[in-house]
Amino acid sequence: MKNESIEFIMTGRRQRHRRWILVTSSLAVLSFILCCAMLLLGNTIYPVMDVIRALSGEQIQGASFAVNTIRLPRMLAGLFAGFAFGIAGNTFQTMLRNPLANPNVIGITTGSSAAAVFCIVILHTSGAIVSIASVIAGLATVVLIYILSRGNSFSIGRLILIGIGIQAMLGALISYLLLVGAEQDLPAAFRWLSGSLNGSEMHELPPLMLSVFICTPIVIMLGKHLSILELGEQSATSLGVNTNKTRIMLIVSSVCMISLATATTGPIAFVSFLSGPIAKRLVGVGFSNVIPAGLVGVNLVLAADLIGQFAFVARYPVGIITGIIGAPYLIFLLIRMNRRGEL
């Protein structure tokens, strides 16, 4: 009897774990395929061997430039930014127990983006200053939202509405800065308003890559804490989670990643918003959602960029495509929250 019940629980849990492994590895394989597609596809399609030889450093007429200078940085920017957006979005959504509470909707990425625009378009700086400014602006936006939404008691509905307001304000600020500083520069405008992988350059990537390599393990290690935070403040405290410390660590790691992703690709619309819920649908709830959400982010960004590049007569930046997918979901969630009386 005793062993039977353990066996019964174990069987169910193993099944859910198998599903997790299957889904996560499928997402990883799909990401890999999309990465390859990003390198192989373009104006000219070079033979696979040429692409591989170009990547390994051989000089091949045409292919070397197209692959190493244009496609590789574009692919890497999409890969790392997608992963960062996915993980950070999922962290916020799980921690605050609401899919609307993600850095994209509540204006954190817009804050980072505004800082990056200010540095690049107005001050004409680049490199470390842009990275630092965007991380500080991201964290400052979090603090601002927190202060404004505090009130008498904490309400997630209020936090989201205030975040949406801040997002709109910062969006307007970005438009203004672009109007003043980059009047003729449409690609730049696109990048900073909705995100784009166009014109990504190798030298822009190290801060983002570094932050992903440092922050992802932190978030993964805190994955169990995150799933306990999801049970609410009281249960989490009685289960021995130091809630304030954990939240601060999760927020800082997430914001570092997305701010640097934003400084690299712009705030690619809705990726941080969609990744968590999609991953949850796919893998279920019992196991950590962190890595699946990151991989969904990668797939979303790369697939949307490929669609934007090749599916239409004109080329569209990735953010336009993810925006088209994400906006209806945002409206759906707002309507549902309103019906349930949560707003």
Binding site: G12, R13, Q15, R97, I220, S238, K280, G284, V285, G286
Partner: protein, 268 residues
């Protein structure tokens, strides 16, 4: 059997923001017994149990476990001795019963490890005590209120603490489920020696199931002791402001309170 612990509160004052609710309470929780905190609405029962289970930091006063301040004990270590079932726990959408109960194992697990044999045993044991084993792989969203409450208690049991606080574990439940939950908690206390401290609304069920009663009024502890000694019509009048008759419960022999309202009272 669970070890005995000395859990004491000394002159604690506690509350929210600038409103003090608990105004200087000192008490010692009887180890390996069932204690029930009773009192009228807004008398501070819930605040007291939250303060004792360290959800609220007291404004002043000391809470000690075996002589050590609970605020000084590392939170995970404390979570292996002291558990709490909050009044309205939050359910993550779509989680299976076993996975939710398993979250109670958090204080026993390391950062990255999966479930160990011990974890499985503890989860199975907790679910067996709460009689929800067959629901293990069901989705929590599919369960009734009574079943959910048993799942929550099972999660607290999987934590395998020596002391368990429960904030109104029977609220919103039908009388049948209320009795069922209280019986299960009594099993837990009798078979495992778990110290139980809970807030209950129903004074008669409190009197029947408690080994020890703490009666609160306006944030102060006014009476404590065994139900048969402390529950009297004077006490009920004192804490609830209600006239009543206290008789012997014909089923359990514990004190039974019969309220007297303005109507339906015989004039003999």
């Amino acid at each position: 059997m669970k070890p005995t612990h000395v859990f004491q509160a000394e002159e604690i004052v506690a509350g929210y923001d600038n409103k003090t609710v608990i105004q200087g309470v000192s008490l010692a929780i009887p180890s390996n017994k069932i204690s029930v905190i009773i009192g009228a609405n807004a008398c501070g029962k819930s605040t007291l149990i939250k303060t004792l289970s360290r959800l609220i930091k007291p404004i002043s006063g000391k809470i000690t476990l075996d002589g050590k301040l609970i605020s000084k004990i590392p939170s995970k270590q404390l979570a292996r001795i002291l558990g709490l079932l909050p009044q309205s726990p939050i359910v993550p959408e779509g989680i299976s019963v076993a996975d939710l109960v398993g979250r109670g194992r958090f204080p026993h697990q390391s950062l990255l490890s999966g479930w160990t044999k011990k974890d499985y045993e503890a989860v199975a044991e907790a679910m067996r005590i709460m009689d929800i084993t067959e629901l293990a792989n069901n989705n929590i969203d599919e369960l009734s209120g009574g079943q959910r409450q048993r799942v929550w208690i099972a999660m607290a049991l999987a934590q395998q603490t020596d002391i368990l606080f429960l904030d109104e574990p029977t609220t919103f439940l039908d009388i049948t489920y209320q009795i069922e939950i209280l019986d299960l908690l009594t099993d837990l206390n009798r078979k495992h020696g778990t110290t139980i401290v809970m807030v209950l609304h129903d004074i008669n069920l409190s009197a029947r199931y408690a080994d020890y009663i703490f009666a609160l009024r306006k944030g102060k502890l006014i009476v404590e002791g065994e139900p048969s000694k402390v529950i009297t019509s004077t006490l009920v009048k004192d804490i609830f402001g209600l006239d009543c008759l206290v008789i012997k419960d014909p089923v359990s022999g514990s004190p039974f309170t019969i309220p007297k309202g303005r109507y339906h009272v015989n004039d003999e």
